[in-house]
Symmetry: C3
Subunit: 188 residues, 3 copies
């Protein structure tokens, strides 16, 4: 379940990175770069902070291959899509939800502290999008008057609370994912 | 003494982050996010570079609690303060002074090299504020025509020199803190 | 050979950082800061991701001394140069080429994966310049309509391919360096 969420997070964030590259009219390599930075950025920061190095995509290069494939698909189809920005925002919401659970699960496993789980969940979920906007010189998702950080924090919190209540891992994950996506999706 | 300086640095930098969130009219969770990023950002980079992972606030979640409390206090009082920007700049100066000593002390302990101590002191002291300005899309403290990096470097240098001269730890710390605060405070 | 490339990368990137500080009319300490951030930024991210901590310049403080000397030389000569921006761009190209090989070599040694080698090569080569432009609030090299990321990726790819073909290390390094510099230089 966690591996599925991690790959889902990488794919949708990679797609938002590639869409940002598309809006900036970069070349294919630019698509690859932004897809990779956005796709694995949040998880990289999470692994660094928890001291789990080499980071996950060095241990498992398939994540990079996923980013590359996603970037190529977006490169050859993005110009067909008229609502690129809207798609980017929705994919970003799915990635945010997936990564808030992933980050919280790994933070909880590494530290045993619910406080840390909520922080790493929120950081993992928001950092990819923040990096993307920063490097693409777009207005940061952080400063928009919408629920963004809150959705990540709520998802991480719901997961952590469900784990503390003794729910099985797939139920906690579904709870965290659902809460984050509902909050963020409702705010778009 | 070093623990006091670390907590002092976290509190005042967290307060500057929350004040930046206030200037951007973010919600409470935005206050928490900016308080945490600014409060622990410099120390996180320091720990990563020195290889001391998990980073300090994962080992000691109380630092996160301190950021949360600081953010909540600022959230409910910031609108009462007319001189928010001025307060931010002064708190930033205190944080800069505290973190220049902390960063230098930990860098010296980890590497034994005065050169590295001065670099980690300067990085720790400036990185929180740089991150805050970058993510809040404010003009960076780095580029203002004031003494900023210099004060951090001077504080780290004074601490390192005092340690090399064999002074007791509290005296070196006080020397570094005093030099950095005097230089930065005089330049505001 | 790799050590030469690493020092060469640090010197030329440090010089571009100092030139950026010069364009922003910072003081000597500002030159030092930007020289150090740009000179060692890419390699620092590479070491963090590969889990090789403390990072290279903490293990070998001479790299910091090199940045300091470079910054001082640029500080006292930059105003004599009329074509500072042009020089910055060319030095950046040399640093990009050197770091694409260095990053790929270390990534390959640490992970054994050619995919990872190409990623760490590209990241190491581009990250210093990205950080410099971000902190100096200049338009990012990433978004210019020139070959930048592509040159880094091509250099890292050429090195990795030459290694896989069993070429001696100095030949692989020269191939990677040459490919990256030719591509980037041709695009300036």
């Amino acid at each position: 379940m966690l591996i599925v969420l991690n790959y889902a997070g990488v794919v949708v964030f990679a797609a938002t990175g590639a869409l940002a590259a598309s809006r900036k009219q970069l070349d294919l390599i630019g698509f690859l770069f932004f897809a990779a930075i956005t796709g694995v950025g949040g998880g990289t920061l999470r692994d660094l902070i928890l001291g789990q190095v080499p980071v996950f995509w060095v241990r498992e290069p398939a994540y990079i291959v996923v980013c590359v494939v996603t970037a190529i698909v977006v490169f050859f189809t993005a110009h067909l899509i008229e609502w690129r920005y809207r798609l980017l925002i929705w994919l970003d919401a799915v990635g945010l939800a997936a990564y808030s659970v992933m980050g919280a699960a790994l933070g909880l496993a590494a530290s045993g502290s619910p406080t840390i789980a909520m922080v790493t969940g929120t950081l993992t979920a928001t950092c990819g999008g923040v990096l993307r906007d920063l490097l693409a010189e777009e207005p940061s998702v952080l400063l928009r008057p919408e629920i963004y950080i809150s959705a990540a924090l709520a998802g991480a919190g719901a997961f952590t609370a469900a784990e503390a209540a003794g729910l099985p891992s797939y139920a906690s994950s579904a709870a965290g994912f659902g809460v984050a996506l509902a909050l963020r999706g409702g705010a778009i």
